[in-house]
Subunit: 351 residues, 2 copies
């Protein structure tokens, strides 16, 4: 009663006031507490009263303000997902996968692109801290960046690394890049290839480390000595692929096969080859990663290392939620890996 400020009177004349529990309570002739109990299904509310409340809710078209609920519960039911660029189909697919897990559990997924820049990553982490995100999925550009690591640490937010790792300090979810790359190289070796180049990016990430280790192991196992000049490891950009493939193919002793590892690299590599009049697999064999529709419809279609990015997103979401639920007991650090598969097509020839 004391609460009936004049704003109620203004409502009709002034700009539409936002609806609150109070409006519903008044309309139903009950207290706000009762309204709250009804919408939260707290037992012990009279059936007729509940009916009246629900009628008032429908009548006014009220929906509880989640922000207010959250502030009381000191939670946000929001998860941040940070990666380089949503235009990369890999991240779009992971986002879609994660969304499918978070949505039904009442969490809002907020994906944001850092353009792979450290300051943006730090800003985004701080932003999620200000918004009191309940969790973070991180696919950062460089696992060793101290600024980013300290931003993560001071945020105090539960997080998992996706396609990245933080030593033994954090849970991570990734594809089996070692296995995938190893299988690709073994296939090339079987097809008679000895000079195998690799174009990729992601220095300072689990992904590059595993790919490199796989290549080295495979070469060593075949008693082939790797040529360091065949390694082009500085970027995932199409432009980089375009340049490097031409430099590689312009060498006196060009590679006979190229691993093109990174979704955006492939268009660059292919148009680089086209630009210098080289064909695949005639002039050079090609294996790409991840598999995409583009890879499958090029002429000829391209052999690819495939893994399920959608599943990766789902797993990251599920693992993170589990970790959030257990918050209190210190979270166990776990490592999850999903399998890869070599999709044989026509871009590799026997030599």
């Amino acid at each position: 009663m004391a609460n009936e400020k004049k704003s109620t009177g203004e409502k009709a004349i002034a700009r539409k006031k936002r609806l609150t529990v109070h409006d519903v309570a008044r309309q139903a002739g009950v207290s706000t507490g009762t309204v709250s109990r009804v919408i939260n299904n707290v037992p012990g509310v009279g059936e007729d009263v509940a009916r009246r409340v629900r009628a008032a809710i429908d009548d006014l078209g009220w929906l509880p303000n989640i922000a207010a609920q959250n502030i009381r519960a000191s939670t946000s039911r929001m998860i941040g997902f940070i990666f380089s660029d949503i235009r990369n189909p890999l991240y779009a697919t992971m986002t879609k996968g994660a969304e499918g897990v978070f949505g039904p559990r009442g969490y809002l997924l907020v994906s944001s692109s850092s353009d792979g820049r450290m300051e943006r990553e730090v800003n985004l982490i701080d932003l999620f801290r200000r918004r009191r995100a309940d969790g973070l999925i991180l696919t950062i550009a460089d696992e060793d960046c101290p600024e980013v690591r300290s931003a993560i640490a001071r945020s105090g937010i539960s997080f998992v690394m996706l396609e990245r790792a933080l030593g033994d300090e954090a849970t991570s979810i990734s594809a089996d890049h070692y296995g995938g790359t190893r299988q690709a190289v073994e296939h090339l070796k079987q097809m008679g290839h000895r000079r195998i180049a690799m174009i990729t990016g992601g220095r300072g990430t689990l992904v590059m480390r595993e790919r490199l280790r796989a290549l080295e192991d495979a070469m060593a196992a075949g008693k082939l000595d790797p040529d360091p000049d065949l390694l082009r490891l500085d970027s995932f950009d199409a432009e980089y692929g375009y340049q490097q493939v031409q430099m590689l193919m312009g060498k006196k002793e060009p590679p006979t096969a190229i691993l093109c590892l990174g979704v955006r690299l492939l268009p660059g590599v292919v148009s680089g080859l086209q630009n210098m009049g080289k064909t695949f697999p005639g002039d050079v064999s090609l294996i790409c990663s991840n598999d995409t529709e583009t890879a499958s419809i090029l002429t000829p279609p391209i052999t690819a290392i495939r893994y399920d990015a959608h599943m990766l997103g789902r797993m990251a979401a599920a693992v993170l939620l589990e970790q959030i639920d257990q918050k209190g007991g210190k979270p166990e650090v776990k490592k999850f890996e999903i399998p890869t598969e070599l999709v044989l097509r026509e871009s590799v020839r026997r030599i």
Copy 2:
């Protein structure tokens, strides 16, 4: 003082309590109001006091809780963007563009996929209403769906339509699909084509209406009578493209040119052609929309209707923010269009 509950004492022993203005105020030996003034740059705070406050903030590592700020300001600084699927590069690109406008202005962009399903769209709109989003960018599946329209209306949230329209009722931003399609068809006519097919989706959207109108106008202008059986207008899915292109090319009188309008359709159409051993432009000429890297590296590269999706996202964001700022005066309904361009490549031949 009365406020110093025992929780402060517990802090050391119990689970880490969240930081608040109170902690900072105590640490700096000032009141919470003063802390608030400092972080909000309200003039009239003693320089030494401000310094002490800032020191305390840094010391504790506190960041104001945006949720709490928002609940006071009755805003959320959050914008929802609803479309069918983030894996569609068009939406990913728009999202990126919009992010670039919202971020610097302190707004959080939340993109979510509806899978083009009406109930999902309604759920998402209600979700954004519960979260008190300040604005909505809508790329819904069907402009005429009454459930969705009423969800929009009852939400009371400022919104703009992106690549969609709501008659004269709402501001919309889109590419000039009429112009783009018209130009493509004129080009085909000039190259001697008379039987022009169109594969696309999006019934009930501005985009399809404009494309269809352009095709009809162009045919009429050339005194060609359109064959309704050459119109395949039921889906944007790759699978649909795969099927329909084969049905079209299997006809007694197949088309001599196909407009393949929809990013995901292209891989389907191309592999459909490959599957039946048809080539382009030998057996049929091809024009696609939007332009993608895939279109440019296929053999041969594909003539494409291009428009700037990134710009579309930026514009939608800018227009929406302007509309939000002016909230109070009823928002003017405006229509924005960005130009398209026909990128000539090698998938169209003269006949």
